[in-house]
Symmetry: C2
Amino acid sequence: MALNKKQEFSELQNQIATFAKALSHPARVAILEKLADCNKCICGDIVEVMPLSQSTVSQHLKELKNAGLIQGIIEGASSCYCINWENLEKELETLNNIFSQLKTKNDSVICCVVKEQ
Amino acid sequence: MALNKKQEFSELQNQIATFAKALSHPARVAILEKLADCNKCICGDIVEVMPLSQSTVSQHLKELKNAGLIQGIIEGASSCYCINWENLEKELETLNNIFSQLKTKNDSVICCVVKEQ
DNA sequence: TTCTCTTATCGTATATTTACGATATAAGAT
DNA sequence: ATCTTATATCGTAAATATACGATAAGAGAA
């Protein structure tokens, strides 16, 4: 079957999973690094430094855009991409917050003791 | 085709992608929340609160374990799972570090200007 | 207009992920 | 020894992701 059970989880759980999924391929991490690095952010420049075809890079760009982590604008014949820092930092904060909350909870609880081996 | 190109990316890019992939399904986020919350961490307790079958939950637990985010020990007939905070926090820090470094770089650069629309 | 250049999308093949039921395994109870 | 209980693994079906070449679409040059 492999039915989609994602809607059975909370909004927040899905939000974190969606953000993480956007970062779950090294090519997309590499694209974000390149976008932060280059001062023109032209699609072709990204393709040039990636070990992937133009169409595959375009697909990864689309996924990052859908996740809200980057923005793209058309500049004549080419497209210019930028990191959407507002969203990216918001997502990062959500991720950090949830784990620091969990840590606090976990510290006050006697959980299974893992013996050193 | 769909050849695996992951080894063409850097160690760090792959490390981040692997961590993100572990968090890229809401069920695995839910498991981490449950592990932080319950004070017994028995596999069956997790299965009970999840909208998934025992075998599927077991599979997700295995992935979290492979990513180093949780640890499991056998306690008689059942298994007890715990969050591996040391690894989890290390991975989170790596993620935070890379983006704060990128942000610093990006701030000093004239990137494509996105017009407000 | 026609040619070229750039990027997005389509079609498609393959790989991986997700999900479940069935089964194996191992511990504890009877 | 047999039964039960708990969990991991196997087998498998379906969904999704990854990757590429081909093609479409739109801009700018000739």
